[in-house]
Symmetry: C2
Subunit: 399 residues, 2 copies
């Protein structure tokens, strides 16, 4: 085993409050190729089309001025809610609440559904941003195992049978962060069935849904049950800087979300909403843009996985994702958190798997790595793989 200049326990302790922030800081060092953040590829932003939409939004007029500039309702701009309906399981625009990024949707749903001491079930590994959103509600977080087909719903059912009574179960069902896994159609049906049988809400966080590299994921869980809240985002298909997300929820819950959001920020910036409505609602443009995105991420995923295979051979196990932004890798016997300082010294950043676990269960993820192929260019991804291999060689050769 390597020496460990960042003790695991200390890293884990510091995470709940500052993990994403600290990750965003790692990417600021110009000598570091970052596979750490989940930042979309800058060269794939539809910047021209967004600029056109921004000009149009500010120039448009209404009785109270350009809707993009004036105060709006908490629920969101009518045009955007209508467009989101077509991108989500919503049956009507009324089902849609526009949020300030999907992070806010997670924050609102957590505060509406979870009281202190209640059980929240997540996948192991799970998305950090949700753990941060739910933490102020003081839940008991329980991890359920997952594999290439997503959450092990058989394991969940066993826990339910043994008396576990969660308020909600949180899943990232398509091309998950961090695992890249996609919940199978069979397990989707199973999860919805369990939700209805045991009376819990499913929070379906689906920001990567349109980024299928090897085909589309199964239909969203939200289409089949009122026990599901579907959370979506324009961040991965347009640009995260807009901070446009949404929650699709049945009426009583949606009204609770609106009340909480109103006190939080009144409403999501109308300028962002108008831009998102314009571009997401342009079907021809989006068809072509999504094809470009999928091609771009396919090239990157393949470049990184091939380079890692060349650099590591069989030592590194990679779960090749069918879409999204992340490779989930495992180097048996290697402590990924302990490797991080050496990797940064070599000029490459990643996120140790332990970050994505909950409590003691996190320990089981310590030989795991989340490697994002979204931000760097294919050439940088190849260079990064070499640097990572050098860092591993370095820590392995230490006494």
């Amino acid at each position: 085993m390597a020496t460990c200049s960042v003790p695991l326990s200390r890293l884990a302790r510091s995470l709940p409050s500052s993990a994403i922030r600290d990750l965003l800081r790692l990417v600021d060092r110009p000598d570091v190729i970052s596979l750490a953040g989940g930042l979309p590829a800058p060269d794939l932003f539809p910047a021209e089309r967004l600029a056109e939409a921004a000009s149009r939004a500010v120039a448009s007029s209404g009785r109270l001025g350009p809707p993009a500039l004036q105060y709006g309702t908490t629920e969101g701009l009518a045009e955007l809610r209508e467009v989101v309906r077509t991108w989500s399981p919503a049956r009507s625009a009324d089902d849609v609440l526009v949020t300030t990024g999907s992070q806010q949707a997670l924050d609102l749903v957590a505060h509406a559904l979870v009281d202190p001491g209640e059980v929240v079930v997540v996948e192991r590994p799970t998305y950090l941003g949700f753990l941060q959103a739910v933490a102020p509600c003081e839940p008991r977080v329980v991890g359920v195992g997952s594999d290439r087909d997503g959450m092990r719903t058989d394991e969940l059912e066993e826990r339910l049978r043994s008396g576990l009574r969660p308020s909600l179960v949180y899943v990232v069902p398509s091309f998950a962060n961090p695992s890249g896994a996609t919940l199978s159609d069979e397990r989707r049906r199973h999860l919805v069935d369990l939700a209805e049988r045991y009376g819990f809400a499913v929070v379906e966080d689906d920001p990567y849904r349109e980024l299928g590299i090897d085909g589309h994921p199964p239909a969203p869980l939200g289409t089949s049950s009122d026990a599901v809240v579907t959370v979506g985002s324009a961040s991965k298909v347009l640009a995260p800087g807009l901070r446009v997300g949404w929650a699709v929820a049945p009426k009583p819950l949606r009204e609770a979300l609106v009340r909480i959001k109103q006190a939080r920020d009144l409403h999501t910036p109308t300028i962002s909403q108008a831009v998102a409505a314009d571009v997401l609602g342009d079907g021809d443009f989006m068809a072509s843009h999504l094809a470009t995105l999928r091609d771009g991420y396919r090239t990157r995923r393949n470049a990184l996985s091939a380079a890692l295979a060349r650099a590591f051979g069989d030592a590194l196990h990679i779960d090749l994702p069918a879409g999204g932004m992340f490779l989930w890798a495992c180097h048996p016997g290697l402590d990924a958190a302990a490797l991080l300082p050496a990797a940064l010294a070599q000029g490459v950043a990643f996120v140790p798997g332990v970050v994505f676990g909950t409590g003691d269960e996190a320990h089981g993820l310590r030989d795991r790595f989340r490697l994002s192929y979204a931000t760097a260019t294919p050439a940088e991804l190849i260079e990064a793989s070499g640097r990572l291999a050098s860092a591993v060689g370095e820590v392995r050769s230490l006494p």
Copy 2:
């Protein structure tokens, strides 16, 4: 007394959760001239300059793409934090946290500073949005009287001497919503002195500061003490649709605010931040734009107050504000909440004073009206005054 088709008690009960939202809905009826909302004048938006800034922001580039489109840090864009420094009591850009509108700053400050059962002091009348932001923290809200010179700090001192121990005191010190009052220089010094002596935080909510019609307000409280958190906004000087606000706070509190915000929405839309930084940072443009704004609001204020004087004579007492967006009026003996349905039937909306009080104290505001002159044109303001007088005549003539 008039008949009362909306019972006061019912109106008051429904307010904490839905007041601003319901007010925003009132303005949607095209036959109603709304003096209810606090929406800036649509004809005074600097739409062209904002459009220019939006195009520039999306076209600008960085290592990770246009900063306006990419994820950013929770603290905010460096350029905007630097510009806000010059618009606020901040000593350095580091003191500034960018928020999703000033509403979010109030939400964050409330959650960082107030635990259940703790005392929060507000002016009577106070801003509704703060009451909504602080409500989830379950404080005991105590109102302290105010007059034309803002909060009665002598009354506050008396309460402190009698043992009141607030966690924070909330004031809108310049051209307040709803009273239009401006806290005098002497009371500002007194309030800061009390804060330091009794160990509470002052939350200075200052969105109207630049809208002085008859001159500038005294220096912000935040310049004189670390016990003060200053909250500001681009909503009234540029456009509310950007949802760009900020909090200027000493380091330990600021770090707590950042942690809460990160879980709430990761960061404020970078597109809004880039636009605000560009325009607020353009000194020549802002000098001319603020002169236009002040002229525009002066014309409106004068049109409304003159028309009300013609329509009501001495029956309506008006506190003429020296800036901002609101006339605070009193019609002794008239129940403003009871008047509202008749006023809406006549095609004019306003906000009954009782909305801005807390608990039982609200009763003392029942003959008060908040009349916004910001949104309607001068001609509409004159028409609205006539409609309001008709509504009063109607309810007065009921058996």
